[in-house]
Symmetry: C2
Amino acid sequence: MELLKRRIIEDGRVLSDQVLSVNTFLNHGVDPVLIAAMGREFAERFRDAGVTRVLTIESSGIAIAFATAAELGVPLVYARRRKALMNEGEYYSERVPSFTKGIVTDIVISKEVLKANDRILFIDDFIANGDAARGALRIVERSGATMVGAGIAIEKAFQSGGSFLREQGIPVLSLARIASLEGGQVRFAEE
Amino acid sequence: MELLKRRIIEDGRVLSDQVLSVNTFLNHGVDPVLIAAMGREFAERFRDAGVTRVLTIESSGIAIAFATAAELGVPLVYARRRKALMNEGEYYSERVPSFTKGIVTDIVISKEVLKANDRILFIDDFIANGDAARGALRIVERSGATMVGAGIAIEKAFQSGGSFLREQGIPVLSLARIASLEGGQVRFAEE
């Protein structure tokens, strides 16, 4: 997606060979025009997949997932990161390490908002080694629902998360695929 | 807002005299049609306030704040809850207790996304005793920006947060004001 790639070049900041900050427009400061356009891209790609629910994990996927869900006309659920919030009934829980934050959290989804007949489109801002996506996929599978696609804003193609999802047979649309952040430079993967 | 009040009656769950769960449509499961309508209400009310940025705090305000920002055509910023995420430059930080979670967190906003000439519309899903709003207001004031209004989905009118903001001279629009949750019943405040 040219709009996103251009914005990454203009306003992204390479913090290390592994970490790209998009704090000013994607996951702290948020540009609604860009995010709405991303939502339309994901909706267009997965329009015929029979999606019944969009799933993301708090917090940084929420705006993009909301835009996608609104465009598809289906509900959204965002997995929460602490059990403390979910002490009111039954939920699915998976332990997930976070690559950028260096911590392990539990992601939880209430059984009220994830059903066995759901067809889930997973949306997130980044995929790196895929731990979050893996956790989300495990929960979806345990619920009996099906993950019919994944829409990722920025895929770090030099890590294995995107490949993992594709190997599971899940169609993945990444709007920007980054081949390398070495030397402080963003290099995108060939289309 | 009748649409929200009706939904609270139909799908909300009173967990105690203090706590109302809206997990199935507002802050875990999210109904994009409802949230978009809420964004339009906030945008309409504050259209002439010269808002330059919408501010919320992760995570449960993000979808509503995004809908509002998209409607107003201004950027959004959501305060993050941990310093670990913000080790890349300067930020404002305030310590905020959470009523429902019983924990204290630091909310942080990068100086990159909050400027002295900003006119801020604060958006959140709930206001109870107002600790989060108070923390957000302190950060806005320290940055030199101005909080020109607050849009709250659900105000617990039996707690003091909404009154606190109004006493600061900040116009507050709450879409549903709850007078009491006693006896497992939602009673709305008179308009």
